[in-house]
């Protein structure tokens, strides 16, 4: 694995978010543009100053969708790159923007993501795939297999899984951008419609519509663009990995260190920070089990203990590892391309101490972890 050597220091200068939910009468390009305009305003940067843009999205919306969306802001001729990396598409766009600046090629970049995901179960393969007949191509069934195995090996209870959703909804109830803001009890989560046991509907993230954007800038170029350094947030690690062989092929094990650990370890090494330094974290909770597994693979909680830590309240806003502080995928919803940058938006908002009722006190180090099909994992670490 290549050792990541950052060049120049990079900061997030501004972030923007279009609310997540259902906006059937609003074209996707308009969702994307709203988030981009919000990020530009937040950074107090003009569109004509942006030197490169990376756009994360998954579902086909027509060719060069990033270009056609941004063209409405004016044709500036900059490189615009469309990024498809499954659920990590947005975070991959952010990763590319980071390295584009860190390497010295660009001073200021835009990373954004947008998606309208239809309702219903999500499959990875195409419709004529044999997997459709074999029955295994079902995202939430995959998470259910992981849940069963995790419960078997750790003694985790269904109530512990449900508590992940209870906590997510509590955080989302304090977030005006969230798709699902209603709060539920453990019993209500467990009694919601069964999708693939033990996962009930409220333990599976809603597929949603939304958009998110971030403006990144070289720290040494901030004054050239008249960007307020006091509101900028440092990006101290940007790691991205794809799958490594796990010995089994299709694998829904209780612990999946091969999936997230390589990116996490790279990010810790790159930043010089360790799990003990982390004040808050956003992880890929497409299903409740995902949050538990990612917290463990990030070494924030020992393997096999995240379910008990959740019951003890350690992952709540007032716990020692506040997790998915904006509601996460479970309550924000999951418009694939927008999710990765949404996590950056929340991390930046918290580190700026601008998160209002869901503010984590004294937050200085935030981690954002996003996973996608192909075992694509991104881990970013931001500091204030």
């Amino acid at each position: 694995m290549k050792n990541l050597k950052p060049g120049r220091e990079v900061v997030v200068a501004g972030v923007g978010l279009h609310p997540f939910g259902r906006f059937r009468d609003k074209p996707l390009a308009n969702l994307a543009l709203d988030s981009v305009i919000a990020a530009l305003k937040d950074a107090a940067v003009a569109w004509k100053d942006i030197q490169v843009a990376y756009f994360g999205h998954v579902y086909y919306e027509g060719m060069s969708f990033g270009e056609t969306s941004l063209s409405k802001l004016g044709l500036t001729g900059i490189p615009i790159i469309n990024v498809e990396n499954a659920c990590s598409s947005g975070s991959t766009a952010f990763w590319q923007a980071y390295w584009g600046i860190s390497s010295g090629v660009f001073d200021i970049a835009l990373a954004f993501g947008a998606e309208k995901v239809p309702g219903g179960p999500v499959s990875v393969t195409s419709e004529d795939s044999p997997d459709r007949y074999i029955g295994g191509d079902h995202m939430m069934a995959g998470y259910a297999l992981r849940s069963r195995r995790y419960m078997e090996e750790t003694g985790a209870t269904p109530a512990a899984l449900a508590q992940v959703t209870v906590k997510a909804r509590q955080n989302a109830s304090l977030n005006p951008y969230a798709h699902r803001k209603d709060t539920y009890t453990i019993e209500e989560v467990l009694n919601s419609r069964m999708i693939a046991d033990p996962l009930t509907l409220f333990q599976c993230c809603p597929t949603s519509e939304g958009a998110s954007a971030a403006v990144l800038c070289a720290k040494e170029a901030l004054t050239s663009y008249h960007i307020d350094p006091k509101r900028s947030v440092n990006v101290v690690a940007a790691a991205l990995t794809s799958g490594s062989y796990n010995g089994h092929g299709s694998d829904h094990s209780a612990f999946s260190p091969y999936r997230t650990e390589p990116a996490a370890l790279q990010a810790y090494e790159m930043s010089g920070l360790g799990p003990e330094d982390v004040d808050l974290v956003q992880v890929h909770d497409a299903a409740t089990i995902g949050e538990l597994q990612q917290l463990e693979a990030l070494h924030l909680i020992p393997y096999g203990e995240a379910w008990a830590a959740t019951i003890e309240g350690r992952t709540s806003l007032n716990g020692d590892i506040p997790t998915n502080t904006d509601g996460g995928l479970l309550a924000m919803g999951h418009p694939f391309g927008a999710t990765g940058v949404r996590m950056i938006h929340e991390t930046v908002t918290q580190l700026r101490n601008e998160a209002g009722d869901r503010q984590v006190p004294n937050a200085r180090v935030g981690v954002a972890e996003c996973s996608g099909a192909g075992d694509v994992t991104t881990v970013h670490i931001l500091t204030k």
Partner: protein
């Protein structure tokens, strides 16, 4: 006459009696075994691969009863999806049939079942691999 749903994963040796086996590759350089198609070793990237057929009995690694099926699922709902660990190492996902939910136990022995299913809209059938409980009497 039916053919395999995917002959890179399941070979049919006797179509009359529906006999067949799961297939994959073993890497001659690092000995890693993979289920299904491969041109290069998933672990060491070697192309020195040998085709192998797998044991028809494995153990249940995990399972779920799927109440909301994926788009295009042609079978009954709910259905049980099983992840089975083969003695050679790979895990294989497929439907688990001929069992009541309450009788399922992780670690139980399961045997490959080859079942013809209607394929597409043309009325043709293909043979799909599934899992069913393994009876010790089958050893004889």
């Amino acid at each position: 006459m039916s053919s395999s749903i995917d002959d890179t994963r399941l070979i049919i040796c006797n179509e009359e009696e529906v006999q067949g086996a799961l297939v994959g590759f073993k890497c001659s350089d690092c000995n890693v075994v993979v289920f299904g198609p491969a041109t290069f070793c998933q672990s060491c990237t070697s192309d020195n691969l040998i085709t192998i057929t797998f044991d028809s009995v494995g153990s249940l690694y995990s399972y779920t009863e799927v109440k909301v099926p994926p788009h295009g699922w042609p079978g009954e709902v709910p259905y049980i999806l099983a992840e089975v660990e083969l003695p050679e190492g790979p895990h294989v996902l497929a439907e688990l049939i001929d069992i009541h939910h309450e009788d399922i136990q992780i670690g139980m022995a399961l045997k490959l079942a080859l079942i013809p299913v209607e394929y597409g809209t043309t009325g043709s059938t293909k043979i799909v691999y599934k899992w069913r409980p393994f009876q010790t009497s089958e050893l004889n």
